[in-house]
C-alpha cells in the first residue's frame, strides 16, 4: 500500500454525449512529485484533473487516490476530496465570507476542528502565503494574485496529501503571476504532491519533475521535464512547444 503512487489513473475514458473528451489516459503521480499537465486548449487537461477528485465523472477506466477508488460505488467522495486540495482558474473564493472564514469553513465542517483552532490555522497559512494582514478582508477587496494565494491557503488548510491546480495563473495579470508561482514553488520544495495544469513553461521546467503533454483527449507524452523540453519525442509536442515558446 505504501509504495503505491498517490494517484494512479488507468485507461480513463470520458465523453459528453458523442464527444470524446478523454480517450484512454493513464498516468501515475508519486508522493512528493510535481507533475505539470500541458497541451492545447480543449485537449482534456482540466477534465482529467477534475476526474481525480470526482468533480467530473467518467465512463470507464479507474482512478485511485491513496489506494481509494474514486469511481467506486461506496467511495466517500467528500472524505476523499478533503485529502486532495484543488485550486481553480478563477479562484472561487466564497464572496460572502472574509478571507479568514474562507480558509476556516471546511476545517470546521469537514475536519471538525473547533472554530478557534481553524482560525488559528487559517492565520498561520495566511502568513505562509504572505497575506496575514488580509485576514478580515473580503475577497472582492483583494487583487487576483492575492485571491489565488488565499485559495491556495484554503486548499492547504485541510492538510491534503496532494493539490490539483487547474490553470492557477491563467486569469491573472502578468505582474501577479509571479507571486502565485512563487508560493507554488515553495510548496513543491516542501515536498507537496502537485498536479498542475498550466501554460507556464518556465515553471514546468524549473519546478516540475515530470511533464504530461495532452492532445485531443490523449496523453501523448509523459516524460521527465528536462527530457520533455530538451528532446520532445512526438511531433505534436514539438509543434506545441514551438508555438508556446515562440513569443
Amino acid at each position: 500500500m505504501t509504495d503505491e503512487p498517490t494517484i494512479v489513473i488507468r485507461d480513463l475514458h470520458k465523453s459528453y454525449g458523442t464527444t470524446q473528451v478523454l480517450r484512454g489516459c493513464s498516468m501515475n503521480v508519486a508522493r512528493g512529485e510535481v507533475v505539470v499537465v500541458c497541451g492545447p486548449s480543449g485537449s482534456g487537461k482540466s477534465t482529467l484533473i477534475k476526474c481525480i477528485n470526482g468533480l467530473e465523472g467518467f465512463q470507464s477506466g479507474s482512478i485511485r487516490v491513496e489506494g481509494v477508488e474514486v469511481g467506486g460505488k461506496s467511495t466517500n467522495l467528500p472524505k476523499l476530496r478533503a485529502r486532495v486540495g484543488m485550486v481553480f482558474q478563477h479562484f472561487e473564493l466564497y464572496p460572502h465570507m472574509s478571507v479568514l472564514d474562507n480558509i476556516a469553513l471546511a476545517q470546521v465542517h469537514v475536519l471538525k476542528r473547533t472554530r478557534p483552532a481553524a482560525r488559528e490555522r487559517a492565520r498561520e497559512l495566511l502568513k505562509r502565503v504572505g497575506l496575514q494582514e488580509k485576514a478580515d478582508a473580503m475577497p472582492a477587496d483583494l487583487s487576483g494574485g492575492q485571491q489565488q494565494r488565499v485559495a491556495i491557503a484554503r486548499a492547504l488548510a485541510l492538510d491534503p496529501q496532494a493539490i490539483l491546480f487547474d490553470e492557477p495563473t491563467s486569469a491573472l495579470d502578468p505582474e501577479m503571476i509571479h507571486e502565485v508561482l512563487q508560493v507554488m514553488t515553495e510548496l513543491a520544495a516542501e515536498g507537496m504532491t502537485m498536479v498542475v495544469v498550466t501554460h507556464e513553461m518556465g515553471f514546468a521546467r524549473r519546478v516540475a519533475h515530470r511533464v504530461v503533454f495532452m492532445d485531443a483527449g490523449e496523453i501523448v507524452e509523459d516524460a521527465p521535464s528536462e527530457a520533455f523540453f530538451s528532446a520532445p519525442k512526438t511531433q505534436r509536442a514539438v509543434e506545441f512547444l514551438s508555438k508556446i515558446l515562440a513569443h
Binding site: L55, R81, F88, H90, E92, P95, V110
Partner: protein
C-alpha cells in the same frame, strides 16, 4: 388630524394593529415556505419538485381573493376543521406570497456560479453543506431587494382580508365610513398610513441590502 379620525382613533388603531400582525405572520411564515419550496425546486428533489411546481403555478394563476375564499370556505369544508377569518387570511397570504418568494429564492440560488459549488465540494463539504454554507447565504443576500418588494406588496394585499371579515385597517376604515360617511378624509388617511408603513419597510430592506450585499 381630522376630527373624524381622532374620534375613531382607537378603533382605527386596532385595525392597524391587525394589519401589522397579519403582515408579520404572513411575511415570516411565507418566507420560510418560499425558502423551502425554492430550494426544493433548485435541487430538483424528486416528487417534491413536481409538487412544488404545481403549487407555484397554481398560486401564480389564481387571484388573491380566490385564494382567501379557498382558505376561508373551501379548505375547512373539505377537511372538516374550524377556522377564523384571521387565521384563514394568514394561511391565504402565506400560500400566496410563498409561491412568489419561492421563485425569487430559486432565481437567487441559480445565480450562484456553478464553479463556486465545485470549489466547495472540492474541499470535502457535502452537497447539503455546500448548499447551506455557500449557496444559500449568497442567494438570500442577492434576493433581498426582491424579497422586500414582495413584502411591501403583501402589506397592501392584506387589505383584501376585509372581504372575508377581518377588520384590519381597510376593514376598520370602511366601517367607520359607513357610520360617518366622510370617504375622502377617511380613505385618504388610511392611504397615508399604508404609504408610511410601506416606505419604512422599503427603507429597512435597502439598509439590509446595503449592509449584506455580496460584492464580487
Amino acid at each position: 388630524m381630522p376630527d373624524v379620525i381622532l374620534k375613531n382613533l382607537p378603533f382605527l388603531l386596532q385595525g392597524l394593529w391587525l394589519t401589522l400582525t397579519l403582515s408579520v405572520w404572513s411575511i415570516a411564515l411565507g418566507t420560510a415556505l418560499g425558502l423551502v419550496v425554492g430550494t426544493v425546486r433548485f435541487v430538483r428533489l424528486p416528487v417534491l419538485n413536481a409538487a412544488a411546481l404545481v403549487y407555484v403555478e397554481f398560486i401564480r394563476g389564481t387571484p388573491l381573493l380566490v385564494v382567501l375564499f379557498i382558505t376561508y370556505f373551501a379548505l375547512p369544508a373539505l377537511f372538516g376543521y374550524h377556522t377564523t377569518a384571521y387565521r384563514a387570511a394568514v394561511l391565504g397570504f402565506v400560500l400566496f406570497i410563498g409561491a412568489y418568494l419561492a421563485e425569487d429564492f430559486r432565481s437567487g440560488l441559480r445565480a450562484v456560479r456553478p464553479t463556486l459549488i465545485q470549489a466547495g465540494l472540492a474541499t470535502g463539504l457535502t452537497r447539503w453543506q455546500v448548499l447551506r454554507f455557500i449557496i444559500l447565504p449568497q442567494a438570500i443576500r442577492r434576493v433581498l431587494p426582491s424579497l422586500f418588494n414582495q413584502y411591501v406588496r403583501l402589506i397592501k394585499f392584506t387589505s383584501v382580508a376585509s372581504v372575508i371579515g377581518v377588520t384590519e385597517l381597510t376593514g376598520a376604515g370602511l366601517l367607520v365610513n359607513a357610520r360617518e360617511f366622510q370617504p375622502v378624509t377617511i380613505l385618504a388617511s388610511i392611504a397615508v398610513v399604508y404609504l408610511v408603513v410601506c416606505m419604512l419597510l422599503s427603507l429597512a430592506g435597502r439598509a439590509l441590502y446595503a449592509r449584506f450585499a455580496v460584492r464580487t
